[in-house]
Subunit: 586 residues, 2 copies
């Protein structure tokens, strides 16, 4: 039995000043976690109980699908991650350190290399496969912006697993098994989820899906088709090649456009001074050239220009997903100073391209379709060009999915409008293929006695993040409302009496009775704390069933409150235990 | 059911070349662990099961004594450890790193600071205390010499707990409660232990005891009195002040002793050329001055000379325990070159001392009692001095317990002879007192409304080390022999038949029967593996009960082998399950 008089917990009346999202605010206020370091949290007893219940559900389902649990160190030698180039590719996201002998180490952000090498060590032949291995282990990533409490930390608990198969069909099955197990896990955790197409990021590989919990506090944006079953992280949305524009266009014309350094001023100027015959000029007639700086893992920088329709913004996360492991930011003042050919506000593709004098790579979003005509900068101040045609008057070094995806954009599959929502990544399943096995030489003998390279999958669930995601979904203005499957206790008994009076004795007896029926009981047996404060704490802590033993005991009743239903029922004290058990088994 | 045909395990016939001790050798050979990094090990499924069983026993007993489980990050900010000076005092043993923003971090070797600050955050008044908090968490120490597999690693699993009390009586009770819980834990783990007095090391504080498992592979040496109940780590043995020598001694005499740079040659020379009237000279008449270099945590070095009787060695671990956090090594060539006054082989205390021209601190072992006379160097080559009296002809800057303790030495309590053994530290209990609370400002209001500083204890169990210690105790020439309480399974069923024959069917049926009776079953269902190899693997893996379903099934029997008793009993197949359950329930 947990006794609030002794439990290492203190609730806070005020929101912590650094907490932006409900889960962070409430988990701190209710005494589940406390900040210990930037992106690092201490689990207090109540929080630790929830984490362990989530962990147990993950473990049960992983075991049930036949995956085997192992455990690797977090402190790993550099050489292994050098062989796959991830020592460099992870860039600043990797925590690196040097030991007393001067050897380089890292804190594992994920363990593909280690699992691959261990399978290579133990296994050598086709009957050994398939095998799926997992661990539930603390991971480290030096996030640029740790935020939102447990939602994006630098030290966090993760379940990572890896499948090893002899061929693609095997990988497909291992992948599907993991995907199914993940669906069972998130259902048991009562976490709503959407499965979306995902980018591979720094992981390499091909097919990849994310489980996103649709939560406003999430950092991911995803699209979902209103008609078909298409769903994707916006990073992974592929507009694809659009129909080329085959309309004939007039020859290019230069126009003096004084003070038209913005799209809006340019459009106004043209409508006033160079009206189109057919319709007014719009922002979508202009070609916006956005200058970015790529930072490659070796530290080198590259300036790149991306052309998009002027009515669209560039989505840096989408761009970054495609140029990974490079990181992306807008070119800064010093960068522009180094490129005098780039006339801010008047940049046009005429002087761009890897083969041009400037030598700056020029990429186009697919919305700038071949054959289409644009208004764009003339690379001189106060001057623009009309009717510049893609393919006739300028070219690019490649395509890149760059524009911000919007609600109402056509679905890449069925062309009906998509909707957009935010979510938090709670799981990721990934067909890695032979990338790691190739680099690390993981081969086995096949049935014909030939060495074949093993094909792999990698799969992750953020266990500590799942706790925060559940808190994000299950709360109200009063506090947390845990699903019964993960609550830190089954029932919270509030005693409003004083030392050893009839109320206290009845409450203690009821608590013992509940415990003897297999329930986990938290009892608020604090002396000198008012009933009002106890009720507030009970609501804040969010155990799904609250039993109040108080004044109504005079009528032979206790109150049974269902935190989810919001109901408050008077129950005869002799029937209370049974009623609570029924609710809890619910 | 665990199936060897699918389990991620491979046994090795040969000992791994880097394994010196039985636990390391056998845990690797039997497929429980694999080396992943210097001092870092991967737990394979069998090893992970044992570790989790050990962890569960530790958790149960900690919960039973009323300690509350929490969990802190391993990646911790520097500033907290600066406040107690441990950022420096830990020296090279601390893994330090810098994050992407240039901030300093460490990987926690132990968490006194973090727990102290958390209690300070949550608690403020005497009714809040006592409280005992614990975590079972991965710890990091950059050991100079990681060795012996799990016995001394750089990344390891530890249960660390901390008690907080308002006064010394409370601390004593919290300490005793932990000590009792530790006794219960080690008894349940079947780990033999001796409780010995210990030094405080880098932890500060006062009363401290270690739980040592008496294992030859251990790194600790402890003494135990043959008569009274005195037991201590040799580091912590205090010879204490001996009776001063009040015999009158002749005046000092210089003797030319050509080529007598060693104690033995000196004693021989004196007996030949300067014989004593009463008895021959012995090594114990000579004063040996050992030159050491202390490395302080700030990196500075200090030369120190320690005087001990010539028949004794200096025990560097004992010295180090007393000069901690400084590290100790013999002075090297360059060090001697920097001190021309130190004439190797002929060093005497006449030129030593902090106040001397050399300015070198001179410390004496208590065995060099005040008033006693010695033969020692004259600080010139080929010259010694006779009858140099401690206190008359030389003095020291302090005492230090420096000599190697030997079997037969007098017990510090009762003066009877002690015996000496080796052990591995499996637990440590520690009355820290107010050291950390003072430095970090942990105070609470007492009953009189006054702020008082909290007094603390800290307590540790090496969970991963306990696994190795158990393996160290329970093995024979065939392999491991796990105690039932921590074995990776209850019973190992060896099937010597082939696919789907009667033997295989009977074995599978028996395994299912055992599982339905609540036992954890490992079944060796591998095809194409000979019975001999299967038997060898079963013995190596060391599950306490082995059931062989094989040829004797023709007579209606299976063989039940008890790995501990070494017995091998034919049991009718219909009675086998019951017999195995009886064995397993012990």
């Amino acid at each position: 039995m947990l006794r609030l008089s002794q439990l290492f917990v203190r609730t806070l009346r005020e929101d912590p000043s650094d907490a932006e999202v409900p889960s962070h605010r409430l988990l701190v206020r209710a005494g589940y976690i406390r900040r210990a370091a930037p992106g690092g949290y201490t689990w207090l007893p109540l929080g630790w109980r929830v984490l362990r219940r989530v962990e147990a559900i993950v473990r049960e389902e992983m075991d049930a699908m036949g995956a085997q649990e192992v455990h690797f160190p977090a402190l790993l030698p550099r050489d292994v991650y050098e062989q796959t180039n991830r020592w460099n590719e992870y860039g600043d996201n990797l925590f690196r350190l040097v030991d007393r002998k001067g050897a380089d180490y890292l804190l594992g952000p994920t363990h593909e290399e280690m699992f691959t090498l261990r399978v290579k060590d133990l296994y050598s032949s086709y009957p050994d496969l398939p095998v799926s291995l997992y661990q539930i282990q603390t991971k480290y990533r030096d996030e640029a912006r740790p935020r939102a409490g447990l939602l994006r930390g630098r030290e966090f608990l993760m379940k990572d697993s890896y499948s090893f198969d002899i061929d693609g069909a095997g990988l497909k099955k291992s992948y599907d098994d993991h995907r199914d197990a993940y669906e069972r896990i998130f259902r048991r955790l009562h976490l709503p989820y959407v499965i979306v197409k995902a980018m591979s990021g720094a992981m390499g590989g091909s097919v990849s899906e994310e489980f996103l919990a649709p939560i406003e506090a999430g950092e991911d944006t995803f699209v979902r088709c209103t008609s078909c079953d298409y769903a994707a992280n916006t990073e992974a949305v592929a507009t694809g090649s659009l129909e080329p524009d085959s309309v004939g266009h007039p020859a290019t014309t230069e126009v003096v456009t004084p003070g038209c350094g913005t799209i809006a001023s340019l459009v106004d100027f043209l409508n006033a001074n160079n009206p189109r015959p057919d319709r007014p000029w719009g922002a979508s007639d202009t070609l916006k050239n956005v200058v970015l700086s790529l930072r490659h893992p070796d530290g080198s920088r590259e300036t790149v220009v991306i052309g998009v329709p002027g009515d669209r913004e560039v989505d840096l996360k989408r761009v970054e997903a495609q140029v990974s492991p490079a990181e992306v930011e807008p070119l800064d003042e010093a960068g522009f100073a180094a490129h005098p050919r780039l006339v801010r506000g008047y940049i046009g593709p005429q002087v761009l391209g890897a083969a041009s004098a400037a030598g700056i790579r020029y990429l186009l979003d697919p919305n700038v379709v071949p054959g289409s005509a644009w208004v764009t900068g003339a690379n001189r101040a106060d001057t623009h060009v009309l009717h510049l045609v893609n393919g006739r008057d300028f070219s690019c070094d490649g395509e890149i999915e760059a524009v911000e995806v919007r609600a109402g954009d056509p679905c890449p599959v069925c062309s009906r409008p998509v909707e957009i929502a935010r979510g938090i990544e709670i799981g990721h399943v990934f067909q890695l293929g032979r990338l790691y096995a190739d680099k690390l030489g993981l081969q086995v003998l096949d049935q014909n006695g030939k060495q074949v390279t093993v094909t792999m999958g990698s799969y992750g669930i953020g266990v500590s993040r799942a706790v925060a995601s559940i808190a994000e979904v299950f709360n109200d203005e009063l506090g947390l409302k845990w699903p019964r499957a993960v609550a830190p206790a089954d029932v919270h008994v509030v005693v409003t009496g004083k030392n050893d009076d009839a109320i206290t004795q009845a409450a203690e007896a009821l608590a013992r009775d509940l415990e003897s029926r297999g329930l986990e009981v938290l009892i608020d047996d604090r002396n000198g704390v008012s009933p009002g404060v106890k009720f507030k704490d009970a609501e804040l802590i969010g155990i799904p069933t609250i039993v109040v033993v108080g004044k109504s005991l005079a009528d032979g009743n206790v109150e049974v409150r269902d935190r989810h239903a919001g109901t408050n029922t008077a129950v005869a004290v002799g029937e209370a235990a049974e009623a609570v058990v029924a609710l809890s088994r619910g």
